[in-house]
Symmetry: C2
Subunit: 187 residues, 2 copies
Amino acid sequence: MSRWKPDAAGRLIKAALALFDEHGYEATTVAEIAARAGLTKRTFFRYFADKREVLFGGSEELQELLVTSVAGAPPEAGPFAAVEAGLDAVAAMFTERHPFARTRARIIATNPELQERELIKLESLAEAVAGALRDRGVPDHAATLAAQTGITVFHVAFGRWVAQDDPAALGRLMLESLEELRALTAV
Amino acid sequence: MSRWKPDAAGRLIKAALALFDEHGYEATTVAEIAARAGLTKRTFFRYFADKREVLFGGSEELQELLVTSVAGAPPEAGPFAAVEAGLDAVAAMFTERHPFARTRARIIATNPELQERELIKLESLAEAVAGALRDRGVPDHAATLAAQTGITVFHVAFGRWVAQDDPAALGRLMLESLEELRALTAV
């Protein structure tokens, strides 16, 4: 029996990101990730279904926070205000994940399959938000538009956030993107 | 030699859609599609790489029309007005394709792989539109926001268009979605 290893998942993520970054995503194996983390393949598979999941494992948590925050917005909040409440909560969650998010974004940019996976994840997020809005009584059409637009704002601001140095900037960047979107569609 | 068969591509599309609709997309083979169209598999592969391409073959044409129309908008048009010019041109093109689009949407809704392909196609459209806007001198960030939002409006209106009976309604539905988006984000 190996001795107790604290935070195995965190160490596997750190090892995987370092290897993806050094040798490329495709060239890296699960065995190498486990070895770099000082753990076994068996331990890896206790936390992740495959190496791709190291990059996308946080999706459920993000979706749950977003949906809960949209649902929990004040009853008088309109559809888009409810989406903004969700995005605010998400921005706060991401601040401490800036170093991870930056490396992750760099790795995803190198691989079309990962880019597609990211796109599909964003679409699930938009669908989950639309569902949360419908549960608030928002008509289907408005719910879809508000949710899709909110995720567009999130996506664009996220891209700017990982390209700059301030970990706490995501909320401000989302607000800026939203203001810019308003100005763009107003004319 | 078989006798001359006019509009082989059109007949293959018609046969494929009928079979996808009757037996399901996955259960349908290229041999069956060719047979239903009165053509050979060899002829099928002259027009389409695989059966999925029957549903996505029009993408390049759509993208080219969109990009050309965004590029050709009056120089004084703002980013979103240029995107709207592109969407108008696309709406006109789609009117005569309403029956095809309806059946196609029904088939895509049955298959997650096709839904992912559709999503990726929409993302390429948005990227192509953003590129056309950057070529007009629009800054990167505004170009991405305007393009992504324009494609969201297109996507939502398209979903409503295939769910109703008027083939000429796409332009009006896009305008309605855009108005609704303005109202949603204005508060």
